[in-house]
């Protein structure tokens, strides 16, 4: 059974699940429930099979690579190559896919009758198929096919709720940015093809010496921009906060948790595997973009009061943290300090895994809340914990994990990233050291601000009193949603506490690369799950911390509750409000909560604050009836880079439209001029 899984038939069977799922849901379009059942069950079976295949490949360490059929044109060779890294990503995709599909069964119900469920099922399965193709593709051409199938399928998922006009606009911006990114990637593959005469990654890797240094730098810049657009690094991120919220929640969880990681997957494969050896400045660029993306990502998240946009900005922040790990790994490889490079690569992979888990948990729980309250604006929420206790608990777990609080997995991967940055600070070269110091500084501030942002998000959404009537009608979501979220929360805790076991496996995966084949590892895992780095420089253990914490919590609980004095009475009264009657308006709003931080960082964010005051009587304008404050953040990128670019292109196109002036004589003179010019060139 083991051999069957980690073999070509296993991988092809994996694709067939989603293929059948896609076709089936198209055929059963007429009956919503059947279409939903068919697409979800097929997706779930496909994901389970994906988990089996991935774990089989990871444990056996075998790399499965095989070609299929022969096409007329030589460049289209359908070849698969799934080594350890792609197995890890298959595992990631299948894990999140499984839980999102389980969540989807319940969630899709609210689309019954409004839209065509069969089409949703079709594009959902094609989307997962596209992502799996991307991570298993063996050559550049087949990778691009998978890449665009994934982008187009996700576009149709984003514009699925098409009666909402700004979903369509978000989808349009998404596909335009993705296509520009793909063009960059195609140019970089073409440049590689120019010197190595092949698109196959293995062939390129072995004949990388043929490619001159300047071309390799060009390929690096193009690939970083191309994959950066998909991953959403800061200057290229404008599509992410609009596109992810537009999709149905279980799809936006999948988009945010997995799709943006595919850009990282290809960066790792290209920079660490195919294009080795690499110069130093590559790593520095990736490190700096990571630092900037994480800091700006969290700052923009703080200004948001639309839940899903907030989570989308946090995806940018976490991608920045992953890039910190990857950047330091690139720097260490170029300095030939391979054990440290292995450490930071494991940190990057561990954070990719953790972020996929807790980000999809957050999106799913936000989705189930939005599903009940029917609005994404945080200001309308409040007190949801009394109506939807389970969703609130899962959102809390997600928030603790994303703000890297210890017992959960977020902390341990951020700890690993910290360790790789600390090792970087200990380097001798002064310029690199200061780069690592600034990166570590960015990471610390990001951690603090993320904590503030999620206190705001959780507090405003779930605690205190409802700010709108909608909230009081909310009921707890159905079972399938809870299972989806619950298992993700449990995973988040499990991967945190048993992080030692996970780090060991990730190291085995990172060893898949040729450069790390023989490097001795700086990470040792002791029996009590303690990860210690660089022979004792730093070591933590999730299990002991949790153990001590629960023990002491029990002791304190028992002593205080029963030991001291049992006969206290508990009187439930109203919150202290200096005597006035308690109105929902008195609670703090999301804008109010984040205003102090936004004003502190106003140099970067350039906020614009409008006050609207409505007076009792318009003449004297003395007694204000109501006052509203609107805190707006100008989108710096849109106004200074993308708008002028669009203006230039439209201007150019209007200029060329004058060719079609409508007059026959001018058309004939074009032909005459073309003839004369052509003749003069040769005579």
């Amino acid at each position: 059974m083991f051999a069957l899984l980690a073999s070509p038939t296993g991988i092809l069977a994996l694709f067939s699940f989603f293929f059948v799922g896609a076709l089936g849901s198209l055929l059963t379009r007429k009956y919503d429930t059947l279409a939903n059942a068919w697409s979800s069950t097929l997706a779930i079976m496909g994901c389970i099979w994906g988990l089996l295949v991935a774990s089989a490949v990871m444990l056996s360490g075998a790399t499965v690579s095989f070609g299929v059929g022969r096409a007329v044109l030589p460049i289209l060779v359908i070849s698969f190559h799934s080594d350890m890294l792609s197995a890890f990503f298959i595992f990631l995709i299948s894990l999140i896919g499984l839980l999102c599909s389980v969540y989807g069964i319940g969630y899709i119900k609210h689309y019954y009758g409004k839209y065509d469920i069969g089409v949703l099922g079709f594009f959902y399965n094609v989307f997962i198929l596209g992502i799996l193709l991307v991570v298993t593709a063996g050559n550049g051409m087949f990778f691009l096919i998978g890449w665009e199938v994934m982008s187009v399928a996700s576009y149709f998922l984003i514009v699925y709720d098409r009666h909402e006009h700004d979903n369509v606009k978000a989808g349009f911006l998404y596909l335009v940015m993705t296509y520009i990114g793909t063009t960059f990637i195609v140019v970089s593959f073409l440049l590689l093809y120019k010197y190595t005469h092949s698109f196959d990654f293995e062939v390129i890797k072995h004949s990388i010496a043929l490619v001159p240094a300047s071309v390799k730098n060009a390929v690096f810049v193009l690939a970083t921009i191309g994959f950066g657009i998909k991953a959403g690094i800061v200057p290229l991120h404008i599509w992410l906060p609009t596109a992810h919220p537009a999709a149905p929640s279980h799809v936006s969880a999948f988009l945010s948790g997995v799709m943006i990681k595919v850009g990282i997957f290809m960066m790792i494969r290209l920079f660490l595997d195919v294009l080795q050896p690499i110069p130093l400045w590559w790593g520095a660029v990736v490190l700096m973009t990571g630092a900037i993306s994480s800091l700006l990502g969290v700052l923009y998240a703080l200004t948001e009061h639309d839940i899903k946009r907030l989570l989308a900005y946090h995806s940018i922040e976490n991608i920045g943290i992953i890039l910190l790990g990857l950047g330091s790994s690139l720097i260490f490889t170029s300095l030939h300090m391979l054990p440290l490079a292995l450490l930071s690569l494991v940190a990057a992979l561990f954070h990719t895994l953790n972020h996929a888990i807790f980000k999809s948990l957050l999106f799913l729980s936000a989705g189930s809340a939005i599903n009940q309250v029917h609005t994404r604006n945080m200001e309308k929420y409040g007190g949801l914990i009394k109506y939807m206790p389970y969703t609130a608990f899962f959102f809390l777990v997600g928030s603790m994990a994303i703000s890297a609080l210890p017992p959960f997995n977020g902390f341990f991967s951020e700890w690993m990233t910290y360790q790789s940055l600390f090792q970087g600070i200990m380097l001798s070269d002064i310029s690199i050291r200061w780069m690592f110091i600034s990166a570590a500084g960015a990471l610390t501030f990001t951690g603090g601000l993320a904590l503030a942002c999620f206190v705001k998000a959780f507090g405003i959404m779930f605690l205190a009193r409802p700010r709108s009537a909608e909230v009081s009608h909310a009921k707890e979501s159905s079972l399938s949603l809870l299972i989806g979220m619950g298992s993700l929360a449990a995973l988040s805790l499990l991967f945190g506490v048993f992080s030692g076991r996970v780090v060991l496996l990730l190291e085995k995966i990172a060893r898949g690369f040729t450069i790390f084949q023989s490097t001795e590892s700086y990470i040792t895992i002791s029996n009590s799950q303690a990860i210690s780095v660089n022979n004792g420089f730093a070591s933590i253990s999730g299990v002991t911390f949790l153990g001590i914490f629960i023990l002491l919590l029990a002791v304190v609980g028992i002593v205080v509750r029963f030991g001291v004095y049992r006969r206290q009475q508990l009187r439930v009264g109203a919150t202290w409000d200096c005597g006035t009657d308690l109105a929902p308006r008195m609670e703090i709003t999301a804008t109010g909560f984040a205003q102090s931080i936004v004003l502190i960082f106003k140099g970067i964010l350039k906020p614009s604050i409008q006050h609207e005051i409505e007076y009792q009587d318009s003449e004297t304008r003395y007694l204000p009836k109501s006052r509203t404050v609107i805190l707006g953040i100008g989108d710096v990128y849109q106004s200074y880079f993308y708008q002028p670019l669009r203006k230039i292109v439209t201007l150019l196109s209007l200029r060329t439209k004058h060719i079609q002036s409508g007059n026959v004589n001018t058309y004939i003179s074009y032909i005459f001029i073309a003839l004369v010019i052509a003749l003069l060139t040769i005579l």
Partner: protein, 310 residues
């Protein structure tokens, strides 16, 4: 005998912290030349609060009810995993520098959520200000501990204290800068003077008090005790990590008592300095505090840079 040391390590923080608060209050009173309450008054207050009845807001959820237990336990766990009077209980796995910082962050997280939970105006503003300050202070906090960690080649708090590398005069300037940065962060995290006046309930300025405004009875006791513990943790870390002498070397009672005595003396110096600041300085306006925290961050970053260039 080691079990006694273990028990001592666990109970020393909760036991000593109200005393520190008492000593600070006594010295402040002396500075304002009034007699002031006895240094054991905090113990009596805690005992009284633990026995009083409790009132709770109708809107509060389970977070409001469990937050005090979580915040208090976090301070206990952190208190047990930092070097107090002896270095040998170092194999506790949770004494890594980042673990301590992020464990304290759990406390702040639940404290802020509890503040938000009751839906009053004060709690919300308190949490907002608290989160702003803790977000900005974290940079200085991590970097100050990182400086001494990189000097002593490990991030385990016990081994930093025991490494003794600070004793040789080589790193005096970076240690001094790091200590200044750390002390600024200490005042921020324990809501002491330039950031927040612990004695007042004035809506405009209070940060820490605003979050625990709604508590009463034994939950208020736990919260007060937790903030006292936090003060002790920070001053003990400041004392033992930056001035690492006078630790008990062996297990025999005589050395332990000497260790505890030296700890008392160090803490007293810290309390004196805090009281000195509280009595002499006015509380800063809220939007000048980020500049102060940024100074601490820059100081630590310079200290970090200095380590290797010497």
């Amino acid at each position: 005998m080691t079990s006694v040391v273990w028990i001592l390590q666990f109970i020393l923080t909760p036991a000593l912290s109200p005393l520190c608060i008492g000593v600070i209050k006594k010295m402040k009173a002396r500075f304002q030349n009034r007699v002031g309450a006895s240094i054991f008054q905090p113990y009596r207050d805690l005992w009284k609060l633990l026995h009083k009845d409790e009132t709770m807001s109708r809107d509060a959820s389970w977070i409001f009810r469990f937050a005090p237990y979580i915040v208090f336990t976090v301070t206990l766990v952190v208190g047990a995993s930092i070097p107090l009077f002896a270095l040998f209980p170092s194999h506790i796995m949770s004494s890594d520098m980042l673990m301590i910082i992020y464990a304290l962050a759990i406390g702040t997280f639940f404290l802020a959520l509890a503040g938000l939970d009751t839906g009053g105006a004060f709690g919300g503003f308190g949490s907002s200000r608290e989160m702003t300050l803790s977000a900005l202070a974290e940079g200085g906090f991590v970097f100050s501990l990182l400086t001494i960690a990189l000097m002593s080649g490990t991030t385990n708090v016990f081994s930093i204290a025991g490494s003794g590398v600070l004793a040789q005069g080589q790193y005096v300037l970076p240690v001094f800068l790091a200590f200044i940065g750390f002390f600024i962060v200490l005042l921020a995290e324990t809501a002491r003077f330039p950031y927040d006046n612990p004695a007042t309930h004035l809506e405009l300025t209070m940060i820490h008090e605003a979050m625990i405004l709604e508590y009463s009875g034994k939950r208020l006791a736990l919260m007060e005790w937790a903030s006292a513990n936090k003060l002790l943790i920070f001053s003990a870390m400041g004392a033992n990590l930056f001035f690492p002498f006078g630790f008990a070397v062996s297990v025999d009672p005589q050395a332990i008592i000497m260790g505890i005595a030296i700890l008392f003396m160090k803490l007293f110096v810290f309390c004196f300095v805090i009281t000195l600041i509280e009595s002499s300085m006015a509380k800063f306006r809220f939007f000048r505090l980020p500049d102060l925290l940024l100074i601490s961050f820059i100081l630590n970053a310079v200290a970090l840079g200095l380590i290797y260039s010497l």
